[in-house]
């Protein structure tokens, strides 16, 4: 009992800390954005109205509340630009995440099966690119992919192509950039689950008559699902909102939602519409998150 009293107070503080963090850095800003998304654009400082002025008195505040409307959300649904941007963002994110899983899984699996002393080295190799600025790495890709860049020089030298291929400002270039940038986020959680898995389980499967591909499908892959889920979420969610990579590497004819947001905010100075787009994006991203959580909960319940 006495030990409980000693630990109770710090433990309670520790439990509260994440909530304080969430309120300060997520809920409060979210409330701001939500409020702006319900406002109308205006040529003013700040560039929207109504503005809540707590000093103006009760009536003014009521009027301000009454001026809020969901027109911006209606606009999002009616204007093709936004619908297309959402669809494109999801398409790009799904494709890129699938590519990342296909490329990242064998790498993570190979790492997990390395001798222990080499696993650390492999891990460092995966993380090392983070030591360079993200922007510099993307600019390096521009260099590699441009008309007389490294890739075309190699292809020409090997006589694989007759003339330089257009890489830059294509979807291919964008996918290269996304896969390159997000690969560690896919590999690391996969590696963590695969390294924890006992290789003897694969031996048991093979002892019981499973061919190598059956061993993988029936034992290795199902047991790595938590890592797959974590890796997919870690990649999918930020890719949906990705702005820099498509802006620098892809063509400008179809925009992702991140780019559309940028345009609304900085080119059109339409903060309310941009805020509404951001809120809608958040809702779109909540769906896979909730699905994942539901799945995890079901797995937990099955394990009981």
């Amino acid at each position: 009992m006495s030990s409980r009293r000693i630990f109770a107070r710090p433990a309670r503080f520790a439990a509260i800390a994440p909530y304080v963090w969430m309120v300060l850095f997520f809920l409060v800003p979210f409330a701001f954005v939500l409020k702006i998304s319900l406002s109308q654009t205006a040529i003013a400082q700040p560039p929207y109205e109504p503005v809540f002025d707590l000093t103006a008195g009760w009536e003014a505040l009521r009027a301000a509340f009454a001026a809020l409307s969901i027109d911006n959300f209606k606009l999002l649904g009616s204007d093709d630009i936004y619908v297309f941007a959402y669809v494109r963002s999801l398409t790009v994110a799904i494709t890129a995440t699938a590519l990342l899983l296909l490329i990242g899984y064998p790498i993570a699996y190979g790492m997990a099966r390395l001798p222990k002393r080499w696993q650390g080295v492999a891990m460092v190799l995966v993380i090392v690119p983070f030591w360079t600025s993200f922007l510099i790495r993307i600019y390096a890709w521009i260099n590699i992919l441009q008309h007389d860049g490294l890739l075309n020089q190699i292809l020409l030298a090997l006589h694989l192509v007759g003339q330089p291929v257009v890489w830059l400002s294509t979807d291919t270039a964008m996918y290269i950039g996304i896969v390159y940038s997000y690969l560690p986020f896919m590999i690391l959680p996969l590696y963590a689950t695969l390294a924890k898995m006992e290789p003897v389980l694969e031996e048991a499967a093979s002892d019981l008559g499973a061919r190598p591909w059956q061993v993988f499908w029936l034992v290795t892959f199902p047991l790595s699902l938590p890592g797959v889920g974590a890796g997919v979420l870690l990649c999918f969610i930020p890719i949906v909102g990705e702005f820099v990579i498509p802006d620098l590497l892809a063509g400008s004819n179809s925009l992702m939602i991140g780019q559309t947001l940028w345009l609304e905010f900085f080119t059109n100075k339409d903060w309310p519409v941009a805020s509404a787009a951001a809120i809608a994006l958040l809702v779109v991203l909540l769906v896979p998150l909730l699905l994942y959580e539901r799945l995890q909960k079901r797995q937990l319940e099955q394990g009981r």
């Binding site: 389980l201 093979s206 002892d207 008559g209 059956q214």
Partner: protein, 390 residues
């Protein structure tokens, strides 16, 4: 699939014993098998015949190569040299899934994402059995290892003993020609282990299957196996039934590894009919029966198991005892170790050496028990001694 090898009877009918070679025939022949890891020779030229229906134990200290040998039988390692013949067919290079051999793993290696039922059915599904047949076989296995009612549980919802049963059922489900058991009882506590030993033996007899068990526990090997192969540094040191291994060990190392033993180095010898009079520094002259293979001029030791040593206050009691007990050693009790059923006395001999004697506590109230520093006479017959080359 398993069908590729002849003799696999995964999908065979009801009677388990039907398709096995007649008992006594060599089912498995290991010929000069060797395996190295880098410069370390884990298994170094092992040859061994396992008869059908046999319960064979591979016994040895950790690192002796017994697990590597077992893994080569299962197919997880390929031998560098030698052949492994199962029913006359060389399987040394066959992959694990191609062998009609199943293994029960140390710590069981149950699939954590599958239920008890699906764990047991895993191998049956891979063999392409029909659904109804699989259900019937799983039910049969569940009944065999007494797991009724737990079919839907996941491995982490089972106790250690239950997990062990699932592992056994899973390995038996395909009706392998040969079942390998890698330290199958190591994770169980003592009482459960003893019960399970009995159950395993009973099961093996009933199914008429061939079992090879790997263990470092000599009591376990002695209890369960009909023959034991003792391994040391990658080689088979001796292959014998438990009694022979214990009473007629082939070397000093085996004698010391299997059970407790008193050893006295021989310094001189003298033949006296069928007997040898051996001079030892620690225990003086000892009369021993001449070994079947004459020792010649080689160095050797005289060995005597502690339970063969009798103790008394004044030496052998009966006339017949006098006759047989040519070896009489005087000493004082230096240490007493009470073990319940037996008591082990350490006797400091007047000749300088130490002698262990194990005495059965046959009476509950033993007024004659020896106490520390008490003078005692230890005696034993020449036939109780074993001559071992050093």
């Amino acid at each position: 699939m398993a069908e590729e090898l002849p003799g696999t009877n995964v999908a065979a009918g009801a009677a388990a014993g039907d398709a096995y070679p007649a008992a006594g025939q060599a089912l498995l022949r290991i010929e000069g098998v060797a395996k190295s890891f880098g410069t370390f020779r884990a298994v170094d030229g092992v040859s061994l015949d396992i008869r059908a229906g046999e319960f064979f134990a591979l016994l040895g200290p950790s690192g002796c190569g017994k697990t590597t040998l077992l893994r080569m039988l299962a197919g997880f390692e390929a031998p560098d040299e030698g052949r492994i013949l199962l029913g006359g067919k060389d399987i040394a290079q066959a992959l694990p899934h191609e062998r009609p051999i199943n293994m029960m793993f140390q710590n069981y290696a149950l699939f954590p994402h599958l239920s008890v039922r699906d764990n047991i059915a895993f191998g049956l599904k891979r063999a392409g059995m029909a659904r109804a047949e699989i259900s019937a076989r799983v039910a049969e296995m569940v009944a065999l290892v007494k797991l009724e009612g737990l079919e839907k549980r996941k491995p982490d919802q089972l106790s250690g003993g239950q997990r062990q049963r699932v592992a056994l059922a899973r390995a038996l489900a395909r009706r392998p020609q040969l079942l390998l058991l890698d330290e199958p009882l190591a994770a169980l506590d003592k009482k459960l282990r003893e019960n399970t030993q009995g159950e395993l033996m009973e099961l093996q007899r009933r199914l008429g299957m061939t079992f090879i068990i790997v263990t470092h526990d000599q009591e376990e090997a002695m209890t369960m196996a009909s023959r034991i192969g003792v391994m040391k540094s990658g080689k088979l040191a001796q292959v014998a039934p438990p009694r022979e291994l214990y009473e007629a060990p082939r070397s000093r190392w085996i004698a010391e590894f299997v059970g407790d033993i008193n050893l006295f180095d021989a310094e001189s010898r003298l033949r006296d009919g069928h007997r040898l009079v051996v001079g030892t520094r620690d225990a003086g002259p000892l009369v021993v029966a001449e070994p079947r293979e004459p020792v010649g001029e080689a160095r050797f030791s005289v060995a005597i198991r502690p339970e063969k040593v009798k103790l008394s206050r004044r030496g052998p009691v009966s006339e017949a005892g006098h006759e047989a007990a040519i070896n009489r050693l005087d000493g004082v009790v230096a240490d007493i170790c009470y073990l319940g059923g037996t008591t082990t006395y350490k006797i400091k001999l007047d000749t300088g050496g130490m002698l262990q004697a194990s005495v059965v506590n046959s009476a509950r109230i033993d007024v004659d028990a020896y106490s520390l520093s008490q003078h005692v006479v230890a005696w034993f017959t020449p036939d109780d001694c074993v001559v071992l080359p050093s």
